[in-house]
């Protein structure tokens, strides 16, 4: 029977609608304000023009893309593990840190020996390889020690184990390598800009985007085209039936952790290329951001994680200027919110909350109810 309008009306529903509408209003109002730079008052429309030139917007876009592709690489690990075990591996951000941190020592040694700039590509490849191998090994140990014994435990238990493992890795690195920042050596040829199609693009960011995209293409090809990749997808759909096909499920889980770990390790080096430092706690925020990206794209969905990562990176990079700078609040911030960039994490996590409330299945995911969640 069709329920009447009044019966469908609920306080929570009203609240959620209010929330949706106010977020929408803030976004529209803020973006509108941003493109009216120089107008004397909020209510007089004088010009469709922002304070920034097209170059600045393009820089933000490229920066967002490079950040986003790093998020995407990390998000793959979250999403693949979730797809198979229905578990969030919260130590994944620290796997990322471990890769970047370990490879730092190789990069620093290369730097001292001068090898870094004599053979820039070779040295970058070696640094990446070491980061990937380290991160993969740590991910494999994690799976064996922290998760496999809990495979049949209630779902909360491995989650707690993951948080414990996360602290363990962080403080192990702190204990061994100190709590300070270590400056990543810089490759001379990645300094400055390249002019691509007449537009200046920071070389580090170009390298990050190219490397991340290449890795993602390889990984996607592996999952979609190889027998092992197909087995991974089969296990993520139905673990029990996969074992009835003769698939060694434990082995597939190990491969999944290994690939996810390697991708995170590579992401760690790329992240360090941009920010030029490593720190024992550096995995925390990118880890949570990548988790957000995975949820955004639809957790368990591999193309979704890539899309979610890139989208989050761009949104986080352009959002503050686009939405917040022009957000004039009469009486409090008549000229828009000052230093909007400080709020980029707020924007990212608002997005996480919004996705969880309004579309828990993410952009590409199916409804969680249809899975055996």
């Amino acid at each position: 029977m069709q329920r009447s309008f009044l019966q469908r009306f609920s306080i929570v529903g009203l609240y959620l609608w209010g929330f949706r509408i106010s977020v929408l209003l803030i976004v529209v109002w803020g973006s509108f304000g941003t493109f009216q730079a120089g107008c004397p008052s909020v209510f007089t429309l004088c010009a469709f023009k922002s304070r920034y030139s097209a170059d600045v917007w393009l820089d933000l876009l490229v920066y967002g893309l490079s950040q986003g592709s790093v998020y995407a690489l990390i998000a793959l690990g979250y999403t693949m593990v979730y797809g198979i075990l229905r578990m969030i591996n919260f130590a994944h951000g620290d796997v990322f840190m471990a890769g970047a941190y370990t490879a730092y020592y190789l990069a620093a040694a290369f730097g001292r020996a001068g090898f870094l700039n004599r053979h820039p590509l070779l040295s970058l490849a070696a640094v990446l390889a070491l980061a990937m191998i380290t991160a993969m090994s740590i991910a494999l140990v994690l799976e064996r020690v922290a998760y496999r014994p809990l495979r049949r435990a209630p779902r909360l238990i491995p989650l707690i184990s993951a948080i414990g493992a996360s602290f363990f890795i962080e403080y192990a690195f702190r204990g061994f390598f100190g709590s300070g920042f270590q400056a990543y050596p810089e490759w001379q040829i990645f300094k400055g800009e390249w002019a691509i199609a007449g537009v200046g693009i920071l070389r580090t960011q170009a390298v990050v985007i190219v490397a991340a995209v290449a890795l993602m293409v390889v990984l996607y090809g592996f999952v979609m085209r190889t027998k092992t990749g197909t087995a991974m997808r089969a296990v993520s759909e139905d673990l029990e039936v996969a074992s009835l096909m003769g698939i060694d499920v434990d082995r597939v889980i190990v491969i999944t952790f290994g690939i996810g770990g390697a991708a995170a390790g590579a992401a760690g080096v790329l992240y360090a290329l941009v920010f030029k430092q490593v720190h024992f706690f550096m995995g925390f925020f990118p880890g949570i951001k990548a988790f957000t990206a995975a949820v955004l794209g639809g957790i368990g969905n591999i193309p979704g994680a890539m899309l979610g990562g890139v989208f989050l990176g761009i949104f986080e990079s352009m959002g503050p200027i686009l939405i917040l700078e022009g957000l004039r609040v009469p009486g409090i911030y008549p000229g828009g919110i000052p230093a909007p960039y400080q709020l980029k994490d707020v924007i990212a996590f608002t997005m996480l909350v919004m996705v969880l409330i309004f579309r828990p299945s993410g952009i590409l995911g199916e409804r969680l109810a249809t899975k055996k969640a």
């Binding site: 087995a231 997808r233 029990e240 009835l244 096909m245 003769g246 698939i247 060694d248």
Partner: protein, 236 residues
């Protein structure tokens, strides 16, 4: 020596005693039916054979070798194919990928190709839909895929759990015709069915399960003639 032999198998779900000493024999080349009401333990029996459940007591032998402590993927390798209840095809994989997953444990490309052709000969509909995502198939096609997928491992014995479930009568007949063909091509079949009438038309022998025990066993014709079986499962 029987191809498959269950010897006094006891299985528990927690404290629930689901199988209370089941003994079953399946000879090479036979079609054996397992009948019984919901909850009698038919699916549990198949899951125990495949290694998804462990017997607390008793043994499962495949050609004399004890398989009850082996993990499922090894048991597949030993020659047990299982088309589980509710079809459970990989809905997001294509028909071809589903079939190739069935052959996962094998490393003989020629044999795999042969079996692929065999499955397509048995179920021409699958060939037409080879690159279609399996979740978009009809119920009958999904059942064909589930059986074909289990055949791709080239099993000695095929365990089928309710192949007629949710299918139109005409499709059920088609599927059972195909099962007969599969059997004459040399695959032994252990068939679990609610549809006792259809099951007994292709089976040589049958077991009737009741609350985790074998209540009755015998030749198909005997079971068909048995008063109790007629009343309980054959609707007359």
């Amino acid at each position: 020596m029987a191809l498959l032999e269950l010897e006094n198998v006891h299985v528990y779900y927690g404290n629930i005693h689901a199988l209370k000493g089941i003994s079953i024999q399946v000879e090479e080349g036979e079609v054996v039916a397992m009948l019984g009401a919901n909850g009698a333990g038919k699916t549990t029996t198949l899951r125990t054979i495949s290694g998804l459940l462990r017997p607390r007591e008793g043994r499962v032998h495949l050609r004399g070798e004890s398989i009850d402590t082996m993990p499922p993927h090894v048991i597949v390798h030993k020659g047990v194919g299982h088309a589980p209840e509710g079809r459970r095809i990989f809905a997001r994989l294509t028909v071809e990928e589903n079939l190739m997953m069935g052959a996962y444990a094998r490393a003989d490309p020629h044999g795999i190709k042969e079996d692929l052709d065999r499955v397509f000969a048995l179920f021409p509909r699958l060939k037409e839909r080879i690159s279609q995502v399996a979740g978009t198939l009809s119920g009958g096609e999904q059942q064909m895929l589930a059986i074909g997928r289990a055949l791709m491992a080239r099993p000695r014995i095929l365990l089928l759990d309710e192949p007629s479930m949710g299918l139109a009568p005409v499709l059920v007949e088609q599927i059972f015709e195909t099962l007969k063909t599969i059997n004459t091509q040399g695959t032994t079949i252990l068939l679990v069915e609610q549809n006792a009438y259809m099951a007994l038309t292709i089976a040589a022998r049958g077991y009737v399960l009741q609350t985790g025990e074998i209540a009755l066993s015998g030749k198909a014709a005997e079971l068909q003639a048995n008063e109790e079986v007629r009343r309980a499962y054959l609707g007359g």
